[in-house]
Amino acid sequence: MQYETIIYEEENGVGVITLNRPQKMNAVNDRMLEELDDILRVKETDIDIKAMVIKGAGPCFSAGQDLSGEGNSEVMPPDSKAGLSTKDLLDAGTRWNRRLEYIFNYLKPTVAQVHGHCLGLGCYLAMACDITIAAEDAVFGDPSLRMGLLTGIPLWTWFIGTKKTKELLYLGRYIDAKEAEDICLINTVVPSGELNQEVKKYAEALTLSPGDGMVVAKESLNAQMEARGVGAAWRFLTQSQTINWMQQSQIPADEFNFWEIRDKKGLKEAIEERDSTIEKLFPKP
């Protein structure tokens, strides 16, 4: 497969996937999903690659799903006006969750190298990786609710606890890398100039262990997470998402409607309105 939206490189047993739509803040569209699916599948069986790094080209890791409305039918919820069957919605939700669950359970250690915006699906990707290293300038958050959408990953409560989960999801608050480290959303934060070097160090350390031993370690750790309910959580999210998507067709008239503003005034305006209400109260870091 010819990659247009990602770059894949290898060095000393480490595979590096770079999300590569820098002019769109590495927003994930259907094409990028397809390419990610492909490279992960192809490389999972390559025993010479002992760790996988995901990072972003240009200004940031990823600003999240591509919200433009073009080439994003898989990465965004099904169109609420299309009159899809419940089965179609459940299928879409299942694919969404299997994709992230697959990365979470990927049979190699994974590292997310985060700088700049890491929002929505960008944040989910970073959470699904085993280790997240961020630069000081990184910003984490999930603005889904402001667009009337449910979050797209169930791991929040396991990582950061009840009250903090509700804080990030209900408010759609953005937090800086230091706070993300404090609440255990990520592993560590380093000065921006040192991010590349630090991730290289982590990745190299991961390649030093026997590859098969690493797989056993990851499997058993993830089995512990399943024992704590994460397995059921993916399915639960699929169902909640389906309810959420069915409800999209009846957004109350007096409430902020992201999609209506996007169609009337354009994406930029819609995102600005989405963020400004919350940022007035909780300024962006």
Binding site: T162, T165, Y170, G172, C184, F236
Partner: protein, 312 residues
């Protein structure tokens, strides 16, 4: 001898959440006040002369307030707070025999089924707050003890004054763990939060540090800060927020939250038969012998570490 069945007016409600079962129409809110300010409903625990100790009347007004806020489509956020010196000092231990809020009085000789029913009702009030379908914020200042602690833990958010005092004292001398039934850090991996869980008492500032509450601010900024959070919540998509809350709480259920509520009230049932050693303080014995204030003094005395021989 009077029995539990004759005295109590409570009947177990399995089919409804307790706020649903508490009517608000024609109610004069007294022990807890209800007011509406745009999209925000405020429920104010209102027995300041008793430090908002929770008795049946206060729980009833609180539940009715939640019921009213639920039914009002314009209400998008509920704030629970306390009038006077503090949020709440916990269950009212001076409540008359037969009230549900304090522990069942042993003289009523309830059987195990009575115990299960009463403890299920007592504890499911907190569970019902936890599952209330609109976002809730606890605005905490001063003491936040026992049942007060449980109420704030069951709210989605807690904003506290830095000098607020969170604690759980139990009916004997033994602290039973700071977060009570509702493990604030559940099921986070943060060791800081687990460490905080076993401490008997923490300030608002320390609670913020452990992650058990969302934010601590100076007392004079508390109301303003709480309103800021309420405003942000009111701006959200209310329907999607309801789904999100149901989803997050579902995640917690998967990890055993449902069983946690159950073990909590089972613990309450078990605690009825705890035998106190002679050097320990029993609530009922001490209250009978010395009165409520005497019990509180005795408990405080026993909870203070004694000086070792020969030390200053």
């Amino acid at each position: 001898m009077t029995t539990f069945r004759e005295v109590t007016k409570w009947k177990t409600q399995y089919q409804k959440r307790q706020w649903e079962a508490t009517p608000y129409e024609d109610r004069e809110f007294q022990s807890a006040l209800y007011e509406k300010d745009g999209p925000v409903a405020r429920i104010t625990l209102n027995r300041p002369e008793k430090r908002n100790a929770l008795n049946d009347a206060m729980f009833s007004d609180l539940m009715a307030g939640l019921h009213k806020a639920n039914d009002d489509n314009n209400v998008k956020v509920v704030i629970i707070r306390g009038a006077g010196p503090n949020f709440s000092a916990g269950h009212d231990l001076s409540s008359p025999i037969g009230e549900e809020s304090p522990p069942v009085h042993p003289s009523l000789a309830p059987n195990v089924r009575d115990f299960y029913n009463i403890e299920r009702r007592r504890c499911s009030k907190h569970e019902d707050i936890f599952n209330f379908p609109k976002p809730t914020i606890a605005q905490v200042h001063g003491y936040c003890i026992g049942a007060g602690l449980e109420i704030q833990a069951a709210c989605d958010f807690t904003i506290a004054s830095e000098d607020a005092q969170f604690g759980l004292r139990g009916f004997g001398v033994a602290p039973t763990g700071l977060y009570g039934h509702n493990a604030g850090p559940w099921p986070s991996g943060s060791q800081r939060q687990w460490a905080g869980k076993i401490l008997p008492e923490l300030s608002g500032k320390d609670m913020e540090m452990t992650g058990a509450i969302n934010k601590a601010v100076p007392l004079d900024k508390l109301e303003q800060e709480t309103n800021r959070w309420a405003e942000a919540l009111a701006a959200q998509s209310s329907e999607a927020l309801a789904v999100t809350k149901e989803f997050i709480n579902g995640m917690l259920d998967i990890t055993g939250y449902g069983a946690m509520w159950r073990t909590h009230y089972e613990g309450h049932v078990m605690i009825q038969w705890v035998r106190f050693r002679r050097d320990e303080v029993s609530f009922y014995k001490s209250k009978k012998d010395r009165g409520l204030k005497g019990f509180l003094q005795e408990r405080a005395m026993h909870a203070t570490p004694k000086k070792k021989e020969g030390s200053e």
